[in-house]
Symmetry: C2
Subunit: 441 residues, 2 copies
């Protein structure tokens, strides 16, 4: 998935220190601050204090920053006003200016409180990316100069997140929304950081959404694979790609609050927040780690499809071409021996498009009718412990049945299972499962 | 003054075309738009129409843009808020983001109306500068890629003004306030443009300030040397360095309004506006071209200075060290044979500092007292024709005397003379001289 430097290779153990450092408590950190954390000059100065705290504890620090909250939206809107159809290369040039401002301002704020600092744009390091403007992927980051400056000048590197450069064209690229998380983890991999701290407006990853489950509690640690499921299932706390990258390179990621002043601790330890790490680092492992859910789902059932080879391709090929993201797929055993029912889910936003595609390809597929439902929700139970524990899903089926909740479809993977239910029962189902698996505080 | 590429060399004749083009009416233009002209998306789209007009006339066009009005001030203010004493390198990184946004947006707007365009930041071309951050000087611009794209893709280059890059450190630099004019003229020199059009909120250079002299009229042409005097004397229409650069490289500069849609004309011709060009191109040359004035002057007279060798050095050395900008200097012939009076002017803003410096160096200089006046003005009469016409200044002395205006000091150069008078008489003096030299409309 990540070519060149970021090809999936077996990464070293997470706590490995670079040879150049010997003090046990000192380490190398990446600190990432999002748009809300740098929304104005006062908050940027607050971020500078966070950085100073870590530098004071003896750590070498690279900071990755987003644009000031609101800036990116304004720049995107200007691009749209300048021309409806805008060149992604120019769009990238415009929006990347937001992070440039923040990185320069934070470097100034750090210098102002006596911390040597230097800002870095994507093209200066460089952070080499593909030329898929607006959605570029990081190919390679040369961390040598940053490391040299840590060691020779004790200089903090303040890096613009979200952006890179395409080396052949020398054009600025951006990674897409939320890309600063990915920048941070990629930088952490490139400079062999001991930890990548993602500062955000929440203080960690929770067993479920606290707004729905008041008894949800913050996880101290979560395995990469579990976090990947959480992120893919719509937990907004981290971008999926950043978790993938962390997993591939074994970069320990800590999600923590930028509005507290927690203890610094050991760079190899786990500060207040949630540490996303290799499962081997998690000593006390529960069977189930958390319950995720999504209400933005729609269910489509194709009735009495001719049960013949190639029918799945006839259905899902055109949907893929139309960029419809198909999720859960359930094919019932044929009742009459000649036809079958196929049910799947799509994001609610894709529902109309999917219906149109299916109507268009009816002759090729051959079916009686299409039923759809917009009022469905997907509830997912996630836990690496499921690998070694049987019957975890069966417990859920029983508990939900006792509450009178009908399960419309089921999918399972090695470390999670997802249930499609009527949207009206979402909260009840999530709380029931949260209690069932012993996650309540 | 301009090292390397911009060393003062004898430039080719102004209208020289590059060999690659042969159509008489077609040419290569630089169009520069300041912050007011690109203050919002609507104005940026208006600028795109200006550019399209020139492209439609067959010209190859490079556009140089400033930051949207207000942006630079806001970014500068943020730097100040982030830390009182801020690193000029980071300051440059922050403020250069303003032009980056404009160049990307204008490229989008151009593409939106069917004009191929590409944005260019200082580091992409590159525009190599010194490392004097915040006040860098352009060393070299490689125009080859821009020219190649004119010819192969008919692509408009949209270049961020005001910024460059220091090649050794790969740090973004800025040229100082008004630097976009200089960027534009330097780009014009690098790509061998036939003309550099500076679009602004005035429609040209006037014989005097129209707010003071209602009969002032727009000059069709003005020689580089004259414009240099105008700009040095405080005419805000063009940055002094851009005029110097135009003179050295013989880049014809046209000051014109961005709020009109004038005829395109020949790239070698003179459109509505004022053309700043080699004096040989100005056929009908008046003796006097214009009257400039400045009220921000202060006069300092040192009374009964010991008249001995080295006294001038004892006075002006310490002033130079204190960065006081000394302008007109008049030394009266000694009356008593032992002492003399020395009078000079400084910018009003430097007055207090200059007085303090003189008080401190009184023992070294040796004088009776220092008299000062803040209520003085400098009126300057400028014209290349003065070189060959005697008695021009004498006419002024007579005319002012008839109006009862006392002249406190006089300095002259080959193409101008300046008079120091009481500030209260400024308007009267300027109007009197404007009529005297036949400049009234």
């Amino acid at each position: 998935m990540y070519s060149r430097l970021f090809a999936p290779v077996l990464a070293p153990r997470p706590c490995a220190f670079a040879d150049s450092r010997s003090e046990a408590a000192m380490g190398r950190l990446v600190m990432k601050f999002g748009g809300t954390s740098v929304a104005d000059i006062e908050r940027i100065r607050n971020v500078a204090q966070h950085v100073k705290r870590e530098v004071g504890a003896g750590h070498e620090v690279a900071v990755v920053v987003s644009a000031m909250a609101g800036t990116t939206n304004r720049l995107v809107e200007w691009c749209r006003e300048a021309a409806i159809l805008h060149d992604a290369r120019e769009y990238d040039t415009v929006v990347a200016a937001g992070e440039q401002v923040t990185s320069g301002l934070l470097a100034i704020a750090l210098q102002g409180i006596g911390v040597p600092a230097r800002s870095w744009q994507g093209w200066q390091i460089p952070i080499a990316t593909t030329d898929a403007h607006g959605l570029a992927r990081i190919l390679e980051i040369d961390g040598a100069e940053l490391i040299r400056r840590f060691q020779e000048r004790a200089e903090v590197a303040v890096i613009s997140g979200f952006q890179g450069v395409h080396n052949e064209t020398r054009r600025i690229t951006t990674l897409g929304r939320g890309g600063s998380d990915t920048s941070a983890v990629a930088v952490a991999a490139a400079i062999h950081a001991d930890r990548c701290d993602i500062y955000t407006d929440v203080d960690g990853v929770y067993t479920s959404d606290p707004r729905v489950v008041p008894k949800a509690r913050r996880l101290e640690k979560i395995a990469f694979e579990e976090m990947l499921e959480f992120a893919s299932l719509g937990a907004k706390v981290l971008q999926v790609r950043s978790v993938e990258l962390g997993m591939v390179h074994n970069v320990r990621i800590c999600v923590r609050s930028s509005f507290e002043q927690p203890d610094t601790g050991d760079a190899r330890g786990s500060p207040a927040g949630t540490l996303i790490c290799d499962e081997e680092e998690i000593v006390e492992q529960h069977v189930v780690t958390g319950i995720a859910f999504s209400k933005d789902e729609a269910q489509i059932s194709i009735r009495r499809v001719r049960d013949k080879p190639g029918v799945a391709a006839a259905i899902f090929g055109p949907l893929a071409e139309a960029n419809v993201n198909v999720d859960m797929i359930v094919q019932n055993v044929s009742g009459d021996g000649a036809t079958t029912d196929i049910t799947f889910t799509v994001p609610a936003a894709d529902y109309e498009r999917a219906s149109a595609v299916l109507a268009g390809s009816r002759p090729a597929i051959g079916y009686e009718r299409v039923d759809g439902a917009n009022d469905v929700a997907k509830v997912s139970v996630i836990g690496i412990g499921m690998r070694s524990h049987a019957g975890v899903a069966a417990q859920a089926f029983r508990a939900l049945a006792e509450r009178g909740i009908n399960i419309r479809a089921i999918t399972t993977s090695e470390i999670k299972f997802s249930l499609l239910i009527d949207a009206a029962y979402t909260e009840l189902a999530v709380r029931t499962l949260h209690s069932l698996y012993g996650l309540d505080r």
